[in-house]
Symmetry: C2
Subunit: 216 residues, 2 copies
C-alpha cells in the first residue's frame, strides 16, 4: 500500500491521521500544503480534496479525504493495533466520542469559519474559546458516562488507545493554544496528558513536523 | 432491540437517523424534543446527550448520540438493506461523502452557530447560504469524482442507496429552505430528487413527523 498524506503541521484534522499512522506503524510519504499560503485552494489540490482541505490521503494513487473516512479505512485494511473495539456497542460509543469532536467542536471553530467571521483577532479568539468550552463541557460529561458504563482507565475508553483519543488530543491542544482554561475538565486533561506520553502522539504532533516553522 | 429516538421534526441530523431506520424497516418509538423551546438543554436531556442535541437513540435503555455513531451501529447490528458497500475502499468513499456533509457543511450552519452569531435574520440567512454553497460546490465535485471512479447511477454512489444519500437529502432540503439556488449543482439535485421518490425518505421527512406544526 503506497500512502501519500497531504498534510499541514498545524491542522488538527491532519494530526489525527498522523497519530493513527504512527500508532499502527504504517509508513507514508508527506506532501505539505501550506494553509496559511492558501495552497489548499489551488485547482490542483481541489482535484484531490473537493472542499480544499487537509488531510487527504492518496492510497495507491487514489484520493481519500475526511479524517473519519481515512481512519475507518485504515482500521478496515490494517486491523492490527486496533483503534476501535470489536464489540458493536463499544465501537458505537467510541464513535460518539469521535464525532463529538469531529462534528461537534472542530468545524465550528476552524480556520474556514474564522476567516468568514471576522479579521478581528479578539472576535476570532472569543469565538474559538466559546465553542471549545461548550464542547469540552460535553466531552467531560461524555467521558464520565463512558467511565460509568465500562470502567475507567488512562485513556478515553479505558485501557485501550482508541480513535476517541486520536480526536481528543489535537482538539485539547487547540483549546490550550487559545488559552482555554482546562481546570473545569480534569478527566479530559488527564487523558490528554496520558496520551502525550505516547510516542505516536508526540511524533505526530505539530511542532515535530518537517513543515513547522523552526524555533529561533 | 428496543429503540427510542429523541427526535425533532426539523432537525436535519435527526432526519438522517429516521431515514435509515425506515430504509432498514427497524421499528422505533419517538420522544419529541422541541428545539425551539430549548428542551434539548434541560439537565434531563443532557444526561442522554452531553452536547444537548438530537438525535439521540436509546438502545435497550442505553443512550447513543451523534448520527454517524448511531448509523454505523445500526449498520453493524442490522446489516440487511446495507447502507455501506462491503469493499473497504468503496465504504471509505461513501464515508467521505457522509463527512463532507456531516462535518463539512451542517455544523458550520446549524442553529447553535446561528444563535451565537447573530439574532439578525439577514445575517443568519447569508451565513447559511454561504456555507451551503461552499459545501454544495464540493459535493457536486465529489459526486463527479465518484461517478468517474465507479460509474454513475441514480444515487450518490451508483445504484445502491447508501449513507451518502442519507446525509445528502436533509442537507439539500435545508439549502432549498434557505433559498440556495440549486442550478449550479445538477448532480446533487438529481440525487435528491431521485431519493425523494423513496418511501423511506418521504416517511422520514420533516413535514411528515407527528411533531411538525399542522398546516392551516
Amino acid at each position: 500500500m503506497n500512502l501519500v498524506l497531504y498534510d499541514y503541521w498545524r491542522s488538527s484534522s491532519a494530526w489525527r491521521v498522523r497519530f493513527a499512522l504512527h500508532h499502527k506503524g504504517i509508513a507514508y510519504q508527506s506532501r505539505f500544503v501550506n494553509l496559511r499560503a492558501s495552497e489548499q485552494l489551488t485547482d490542483e489540490h481541489k482535484k484531490l480534496s473537493p472542499l480544499g482541505v487537509v488531510p487527504c490521503l492518496l492510497v495507491n494513487g487514489r484520493s481519500l479525504c475526511e479524517s473519519v473516512a481515512i481512519l475507518e479505512y485504515l482500521e478496515d485494511v490494517v486491523p492490527e493495533k486496533a483503534l476501535l473495539p470489536r464489540d458493536p456497542w463499544r465501537r458505537a460509543r467510541v464513535r460518539q466520542l469521535v464525532e463529538l469532536v469531529n462534528s461537534g467542536i472542530q468545524p465550528l471553530q476552524n480556520l474556514i469559519v474564522l476567516d468568514h467571521l471576522s479579521s478581528d483577532e479578539g472576535v476570532r479568539q472569543s469565538w474559538v474559546r466559546h465553542f471549545n468550552q461548550r464542547g469540552l463541557v460535553a466531552l467531560e460529561s461524555a467521558l464520565a458516562s463512558v467511565d460509568a458504563e465500562f470502567g475507567s482507565g488512562p485513556y478515553s475508553f479505558g485501557d485501550q488507545v482508541t480513535l476517541a483519543d486520536v480526536y481528543l488530543v489535537p482538539q485539547v491542544a487547540t483549546a490550550i493554544r487559545f488559552q482555554v482554561p482546562m481546570d473545569p475538565y480534569p478527566r479530559v486533561r488527564a487523558v490528554f496528558e496520558e496520551c502525550m506520553k505516547l510516542e505516536s502522539a508526540v511524533a505526530s504532533s505539530p511542532q515535530n513536523q518537517p513543515d513547522a516553522p523552526k524555533k529561533p
